[in-house]
């Protein structure tokens, strides 16, 4: 029976190729995701390991709790005096203070050296002792020495033609300064550190420009030969003052790695979702293929049954076929996965999420998981059709096989309706009855599943409706319509794959469109500004606080409301907070305070959102415990309650001064500029631009420009998501090709008859083509309708976050539907050709 199965598969090469492809693409996505995340993880491991190689122990301030923000952990600085104490410890070969911080290089023309995707631009102290430099190596020139020298990473030097000996400006949180470039730095074999830029100073200069004089971020220690790091850490710990700690170099590497892995996990999950969607869509095609081939092979199966094969044997042979198919498809998928990993990397670069890389990592786990998932999906999708095959009666071997109509059962329609209604109820409860958002995801899923179950019942009327214009195309059009209606189950499961893809693409489109439409309202409602000072790159974390001072000095500027943000623990829960300047916040921001005022913030005040106040029962004058990683707990008094979320979406607002005290000086995220009375906006904007010539890390935009930039970012994200989902659409199209191929094969005799009685090849091709268009339009229209509904639901669910406008991108949705129809035409090319080639004689001569 096994060889029969194998031969059967090989006999239908096109079918085999198409079904393999439909699963392989999903598996490729899965494998590609695993390869990519493994690769990135290793790249970061190597990166951290390299940088701290040679450092046996690190002395640093104790943190209130470990908080990760990107790849750095914020801690309080330690006094430089600790360094001398550490140096005294027995077993310390050498120890040096380290400082790092924000430093943005500029090229010789004064333009900022920006990183792709907002990778950090950092400055460091370069240890005097090479053994503490880890893999940081001088590639050319000398180590910086003195207040006017800098060494920069080799990539920045090469790509921006910054020659040794030239003078460049470097931007800090504090004033911008000029340095002479004296050296270039590399990292092991790399010319940059994971896409970041680096500026290296001697220790004293670094303290001056990156941190504070008399303080270090940490002290790096190298042990004498024969002293184990753990031993060294114990000895150092014994002499350290309170609030500081010593840990091994390995611990620091592990902490950094863990922090990054947490971030990568999110990227991994994101891609896994898309892989899951692709596999889900692929499973429809497997289901369809097995259903169709079993119908076509019912005589063969009946014959096997007639000569004594048991039901179980028939069932098993089909499952074995699915198993072989799954293994084959998964193997192909794993191979393709390497390409997908590269493609995803490129895509992320294009969209602007640059990540460090190393050689592609194919772990055994990747292969095992991909094989298992791919095979499992295939076998599960084949279970029901295989079970149906066992119902073929031996006597059917003797009958002329007439493909069944495949009408959906009443049971299926009822349960589909129940699931859909349950999903809708859940959705509306979530949206309007203030129930928890926990129901939201399952509700959406239920609606999709319910509609999938109902689609077969809708397929016939839909095909009939969509096919109406086809009547104008004469008999081939009419036959195409009838063929599409003839087996609603097949038509619907083919269209369903496309529907799922389009539902997601369209709902994202509607959501993004509503988001963009709301954006203007959000800004209008929550901001009073005329001009916006923002980081020059949308993904940069912020700009130097110096910029705000420069802007304030420009004539015609009435007020500048600076704001930043950070993360802390409020009342025990991690949350982001906004930091504003109490003196100007009321002018630039429209917070809609229901009580208190922003100007009362001071160093120990907090303004909380109405929703947070309601859910925690906070009122004016209450004290909230705010814990900051760097400095620990602070008591914050509620001095205001605000209603208008929008520009600020956080539940907590503190003053910038309080942030600096609690978390150190941070970058400014934005500055809202209010013009002085009578000042001309364009003139002032020009003047600000001129005043910021020395600050290439920021730019000034008018409101329109700002909205455009923000929606540009939304568009980028939407493009990214759409490209990801296109894979599912592509698989769905393969499914249409597959169904048509099988249908054409099944209808050989009909096609022969039509050709014999005078249908031309062109007419036959048209017939197949129109059928394909009808199927794709069923999927596209159902998907568009469902997508619009879900997109609106999603927007509605986030109305509290400021998505108040509702916008359906009509042109975009129409375009998708038209493209689906065009894709239907393309999918039909091959099947139509083989239909037109049907041998008339083979069809009409009785066998």
């Amino acid at each position: 029976m096994f060889t029969a199965t194998l031969r059967g598969m090989l006999a239908h090469k096109v079918r085999l190729a198409l079904t393999v492809a439909s699963i392989a693409l999903g598996v490729a996505f899965l494998a590609g995701t695993l390869v990519l995340t493994d690769t990135m993880r290793l790249a970061f491991d190597q990166l951290f390991g390299k940088v701290s190689a040679g450092t046996d122990a690190v002395v640093r301030a104790e943190a209130a709790y470990s908080q990760s923000e990107g790849i750095s952990t914020s801690r309080a600085p330690i006094p430089a005096s600790v360094l001398n104490q550490v140096r005294q410890v027995d077993g310390v070969r050498t120890a040096e203070g380290a400082v790092s911080g924000y430093a943005l290089l500029t090229d010789n023309g004064g333009k900022a050296v920006l990183t792709s995707g907002g990778a950090p631009t950092l400055g460091y102290s370069l240890p005097a002792d090479p053994s503490l430099r880890g893999d940081v190596k001088l590639l050319s020139g000398n180590a910086p020495s003195g207040a006017h020298q800098v060494a920069i990473d080799a990539t920045s030097a090469e790509e921006h033609h910054i020659a040794l000996g030239s003078t460049i400006k470097v931007l800090f949180r504090g004033p911008t300064q000029e340095f002479t470039v004296v050296g270039t730095v590399g990292f092991g074999g790399e010319k940059n550190l994971g896409g970041t830029t680096g500026a290296y100073f001697d220790s004293a200069t670094a303290q001056q420009v990156l941190g504070a004089p008399g303080f270090f971020d940490a002290i790096n220690v190298s042990a004498d030969a024969g002293v184990a790091p753990a031993e060294l850490v114990q000895r150092i710990d014994a002499v350290l003052p309170d609030g500081t700690e010593a840990v091994t170099g390995a611990t620091v590497v592990k902490e950094s790695t863990d922090a990054v892995n947490e971030d990568l996990r999110f990227v991994g999950i994101l891609f896994m979702i898309f892989a899951g969607i692709a596999l889900f869509v692929g499973s429809f095609i497997i289901w369809n293929t097995f259903t169709m081939t079993i119908t076509q092979r019912s005589r063969e199966i009946a014959l096997l049954r007639a000569i004594g094969a048991t039901r179980r044997q028939v069932n098993r042979s089909l499952i074995v076929e699915a198993l072989l198919l799954g293994v084959l498809a998964s193997s192909v998928g794993i191979g393709l996965g390497l390409l997908v990993a590269k493609g995803l990397k490129v895509l992320m670069d294009v969209v602007g999420f640059s990540l460090p890389s190393t050689s592609m990592q194919v772990q055994p786990r990747t292969i095992i998981v991909s094989l298992l998932v791919g095979t499992l999906v295939t076998v599960v999708a084949a279970l029901v059709p295989a079970y149906r095959a066992t119902k073929v009666l031996p006597v059917e071997a003797l009958r002329e096989a007439v493909p069944g109509s495949g009408n959906p059962s009443r049971k299926r329609i009822i349960s589909g309706a129940v699931v859909t209604v349950a999903g809708l109820t859940g959705l509306f409860t979530t949206l309007y009855a203030d129930a928890t958002m926990k129901l939201f995801g399952p509700s959406l899923l239920a609606i999709i599943v319910g509609v999938l179950m109902l689609l077969p019942a809708a397929a016939r009327p839909l095909a009939s409706l969509i096919g109406v214009p086809l009547r104008l195309r004469g008999l081939p059009g009419e036959l195409a319509r009838q063929n599409a209606m003839r087996n609603p189950r097949r038509t619907s499961s083919t269209a369903a794959a496309l529907m799922v893809g389009l539902t997601l693409v369209v709902s994202m489109g509607v959501f993004a469109s509503s988001l963009k439409a709301s954006f203007g309202d959000v800004i209008g409602d929550s901001v009073n500004a005329d001009l916006f000072v923002t980081p020059s790159s949308t993904q940069a974390p912020g700009f130097s606080p110096e910029v705000i001072n420069a802007v304030k000095a420009v004539p015609g500027v009435g007020a500048v409301a600076a704001s930043g943000w950070g993360e802390a623990r409020f009342n025990g829960a991690d949350s982001s907070y906004a930091a504003v300047d109490p003196a100007t916040a009321a002018e630039g921001l429209n917070l809609g305070l229901s009580a208190g005022s922003v100007s009362a913030l001071g160093l120990n005040g907090v303004v909380v959102s109405q929703s947070a106040a309601t859910s925690h029962g906070w009122k004016m004058g209450d004290v909230i415990k705010g814990e900051f990683a760097a400095t620990g707990a602070h008591d914050l008094k509620v001095v205001g309650i605000y209603n208008t979320k929008g520009w600020i979406g956080d539940d907590f607002i503190i003053s910038i001064a309080a942030q600096t005290a609690a978390a150190g000086q941070q970058l400014t995220a934005s500055g809202l500029v209010k013009l002085a009375p009578g000042a001309d906006q364009a003139t002032v904007q020009q003047a600000i631009t001129a005043a910021m010539a020395d600050h290439p890390d920021a730019k000034v935009l008018d409101r329109k420009g700002y909205e455009k930039e923000a929606s540009g970012f939304i568009d980028k994200l939407l493009t990214f998501v759409t490209v990801m989902l296109l894979l599912a659409v592509l698989i769905a199209l393969l499914g249409i090709v597959n169904t048509l191929v099988l249908s054409v094969f099944e209808r050989t005799r009909e096609l022969g008859l039509l050709r014999a009685v005078g249908m031309t090849r062109a007419q036959v091709r048209a017939m197949v083509r129109w059928e394909s268009v009808v199927i794709s339009l069923i999927g596209a229209l159902a998907g568009a309708a469902l997508g619009i509904g879900l997109g609106l639901g999603l927007s509605q669910a986030l109305a509290d976050e400021g998505i108040k406008a509702i916008s359906i991108p009509g042109l975009q949705v129409t375009l998708y539907v038209v493209l689906a129809a065009v894709a239907g035409v393309l999918a039909a090319i091959g099947p139509a050709r083989s239909a037109a080639k049907v041998d008339v004689l083979k069809a009409v001569v009785a066998d």
Binding site: V402, G474, L475, E478, L479, Q482, N483, R486, R749, E750, L753, L754, R755, A756, V757, G758, M759, T760, R761, A762, Q763, V840, L841, A843, V844, V845, A846
Partner: protein, 279 residues
């Protein structure tokens, strides 16, 4: 006799006038057709051979066959299995091409036509009745009957179609799907389709092969009537001497050659001859 029956029938029914209008401007053969009644063209094979396979494995299904099938006649082609009778029918009907030699339908050399022209010829000039699977399962009997006319994008001549349907006793079956019809009814629908577009010639390939004898008799009777009363040219391949006895003339094939022919055949005479052929 064929010629006389054609003349006797020509222009005698109002339906034939319908035939003229339906041909006008669409039928590229209409120029050669009489304005009074369409000429039922003859079919000819001139030196037709058909080989299958290549090299040593070449099999000759037909060897240098010359035949003329007279217009307005009912011709049966008989022969043992493998004699090439079906192959000959396929060549004459434009379903297959000869390896060498020429096939004519009236004045048109169909063996040199390209696929499109040949397809249009089949659609407009030729009617088919196959042994089985004559009908599209998704269409009703009525839709199947006018299928070639609809493919051509024309309106069927309703009066003509109704008269055929009545002759075949299908009036109360028109809305049924093929699966709801008996084998005999299905073949009668096929016969109605074959005649509905007023073809020059009707080819039937073992039309009674899958029928019980009563249904077979009914169908053959109708074909006979079509020739006698409507002047239709009919060519039928069969292995059944009784079926052959309905024809005006029987051609006998053996080993790819036409070995003999018989006019005004009877079932017994045909059977005797077949025994003689060693079938």
């Amino acid at each position: 006799m064929g010629a006389s029956s054609q003349n006797a029938f020509a222009g005698t029914t109002p339906l034939d006038r319908g035939a003229e209008t339906s041909y006008k401007g669409i039928n590229h053969m209409s120029a050669t057709t009489s304005t009074v009644a369409p000429t039922r063209a003859s079919a000819r094979a001139e030196g037709v051979s058909k080989f299958y396979g290549t090299g040593d494995a070449t099999i000759a299904a037909l060897k240098d066959v010359y035949v003329t099938l007279e217009a307005g006649q009912f011709t049966a082609i008989m022969g043992p299995s493998g004699s090439g009778k079906s192959t000959l029918l396929h060549m004459l009907a434009g379903l297959d091409r000869p390896s060498s030699g020429e096939v004519y339908l009236g004045d048109i050399q169909i063996s040199s036509l390209n696929d499109k022209a040949l397809t249009l010829l089949r659609r407009d000039q030729i009617g088919f009745i196959f042994q089985s699977f004559n009908l599209l399962p998704t269409m009703s009997a009525a839709e199947n009957i006018v299928l070639p006319i609809r493919i051509a994008g024309r309106k069927p001549d309703q009066a003509w179609v109704t008269s055929i349907v009545d002759k075949l006793g299908l009036a109360d079956r028109l809305t049924h799907r093929p699966t709801e019809l008996s084998g005999g009814q299905q073949q009668r629908v096929a016969a109605a389709r074959a005649l509905a577009s007023r073809p020059q010639i009707v080819f039937a390939d073992e039309p009674t092969g899958a029928l019980d004898s009563a249904s077979g008799t009914e169908l053959l009777g109708f074909l006979r009537k079509a020739v006698k009363e409507l002047g239709q040219t009919v060519v039928m391949v069969t292995h059944d001497p009784t079926a052959a006895s309905y024809a005006d003339r029987v051609l006998f094939l053996a080993d790819g050659h036409v070995v003999d022919e018989m006019n005004e055949p009877t079932a017994d005479a045909v059977l005797d001859f077949m025994k003689h052929l060693g079938a």
